[in-house]
Symmetry: C3
């Protein structure tokens, strides 16, 4: 498992570098309300963790309102919370879900991508890569309990999980709609999608920037199960229980065997991928498109 170790080292380096991040103090655990049942909750500002050590499972609730967009702060806090669980032998599985009604995650934070300098874009994209790598190679069982719309970066997080369960609400679409915004999904996320739904369906979905409503999402295989909204949490936990029954070491080696080549491909071309992203996002035409889109979003809200 040299690979996973290598990744973790890099992750720590990133998180040390996190001192440069604008924003709140990181990693400050907060005592939670409950406690009589032996559980204790802890939270960063943007991620709420509900541990159930008896089951070996924690629920991570994304709580970066209004739409859990992937800001640098959010990603950093998420990765710190994830690493805490990864390093705590009491936890073997994590359910990832959202605390923001109707939205799992809206994806990349456009304010990070508009009107910033190349150094910022570099830092941002490195964090996105890291988020994907750390989730994709996690030794824990990850189950996504998708309780809201799940486009782009939200879909990125879901695709790294071992199982995806989607709440059956026609508004809860999932997919990589990058082309619709004039941008392109990175190659490693494309690889992740191809592994999940196959080459042909990926070519189709990525070129058209498709967002799948529940029934189609299930049919194409981008999620594993669709359940009524009020059964999402319980289904995620019972799926998790099934995975918990497998000996960790054999399961982890098997997971690494399935995923190593795909992760290595990013690790090998990481700098080129950053350079490619920074060049692309810095273009005038892309900046104009994104700013227009951002303006539209603001007007909607306002």
């Amino acid at each position: 498992m040299a690979l996973a170790v290598g990744v973790r080292v890099r992750a720590r380096a990133l998180l040390r570098a996190g001192a440069q991040f604008r924003g709140p103090v990181l990693g400050r655990p907060e005592p939670a309300a409950g406690g009589g049942d032996g559980t204790r909750r802890f939270a960063n500002l943007r991620v709420l963790v509900e541990p159930d050590p008896a089951a070996g499972v924690a629920v991570m609730k994304l709580k970066s309102p209004p739409v859990n967009s992937l800001s640098l702060e959010f990603m950093t806090e998420f990765l710190i919370s994830l690493e805490k669980l990864e390093n705590d032998k009491a936890f073997r599985g994590v359910v990832i879900t959202s605390d923001c009604p109707g939205v799992f995650s809206a994806g990349l934070d456009l304010t990070e991508l508009c009107g910033q300098n190349p150094a910022h874009y570099t830092e941002y994209w490195k964090a996105v890569q890291e988020l994907w790598l750390r989730l994709f190679l996690s030794n824990m069982v990850l189950v996504a309990a998708i309780n809201g719309v799940c486009p782009a970066g939200g879909c990125l997080m879901a695709l790294t999980c071992d199982v995806r369960v989607l709440a059956d609400n026609p508004k809860f679409v999932i997919g990589l709609q990058e082309t619709q915004l004039g941008i392109v999904a990175p190659f490693w996320l494309k690889d992740n999608l191809v592994n999940t739904i196959g080459h042909r369906a990926s070519e189709h979905a990525l070129q058209l920037g498709l967002l799948f409503p529940p029934a189609e999402a299930l049919q194409v295989g981008i999620v594993d199960q669709v359940v009524p909204e009020d059964q999402l949490q319980s289904t995620a936990l019972s799926v998790m229980a099934r995975w918990m029954a497998i000996p960790d070491h054999a399961r982890q080696l098997t997971k690494a065997m399935m995923r190593k080549a795909t992760a290595d491909s990013l690790i090998k071309h990481r700098d080129a991928d950053i350079q490619n992203f920074v060049n692309f996002i810095s273009r005038d035409s892309i900046q104009k498109t994104l700013q227009a889109y951002l303006q539209k979003l603001k007007q909607k809200k306002g």
Copy 2:
């Protein structure tokens, strides 16, 4: 997009070399009948192009009777017509269909493969590779409107497209039946098929040389839609309209990302693939098989 440029250069070199091709003068556009609506049709001898610049779409009708077999002349004319569209910014999408009743394309032209010399086989196979590469890497959206039988080389053309719509006629079978004739599909076409229908279905289909009737073709995924014959054209155009709605640049980069590895594999081994083909087709046993088959076809006609 260095790759696509490289391919295009090679394509031009081939087409310049086309002066050596037996046959009619190439690339002579002909004014078409209509015109009052602002469209103009142009045609080589074997490819009829019906442009709709307002929509950004052209329909290419294969017109090399009786069965649109892939003769050197036909492939050369087709590639010249395709390149014209590719270089004309007015066109972003092409519907490929047949002007020969009941036949999309019967595939390789057996008269090019029987009783000729190695130099001819070399030239021929290079043209087949080029046809595939140029279609497979086209920057335009390609939709195959398959209105007839579509074996071997016909299927090769269809598989390069972004979408395949098949007219619902039990006679309109599609597939790579090479093994049934005692020959073998090239590795890059195998890769294209694997990308389309998966590894297991490809192994099965290629070993048995399966030709799929419409319902089976849809089920295995070698076509995307099956529609009544009289709705083929309109369906192809409405599918195209959906693809036209995606920003070109992002779609083209995404398409290249999905297809580059497969195309590179041929580009890297192109000469070896030609040598392999020439050696194989020159064998006495293969020549005998093909000549017997050709004789049978002639008797059928006669």
Copy 3:
């Protein structure tokens, strides 16, 4: 086909080394009961071969009671019988089935994996690799007629075949349940599975160690057909007849084209794979798990 030749040479070397194998005299053909119809049966101690030279087909019945586990002796005898058929031009296809009621093969022989020394584990794993390589690259058409439970090593044998037909009995499960025993399927068997059922289904099945009953096996694609038990043999033979209709040479080249990369991957990393297996199986924790499991099996029997 240099590859296949190379593999065969290695196979012979292994089988010569078979003199070291504990156990009965190998390769002693026995005259069979029948004969008036021109067929002759021959058998090693653990594999019964029923040839039908008129059809070009032989049926190999695994007969190593009680459960056809993959002992060194069994694998050696099986490979000798297979090689005889492979070298006899009269035979172009083999149906592999079981002579042990209710069990196709229970998989690896745990007694070979418990309390032995590294040299033995090395020899054993080399034989498992060889079994897979020889079946996977066979020039003959292989049809698995699965008439019993088919886990782990049994599934390994079935996955190498060109077609898998499963008898419709809810007890006849098939899959790679290694993780449930705390061990990990080798990477080349993972590749074989991915080629068969796709990446996502493989990730799911391998991590959970799933054993699929007939309907699920068909749905996930780990078998091609499920038929009533009393029609298994006849279905396998009629499937075989269809494959026999394809010219051998073209079919063999096509099969090699589909499988070469997967086989090469093992051939290239063969020694590392052995070393990896020997290190893993020699661990105290694994030995304890396997011995406990073996003990449980013995108590069940006793």
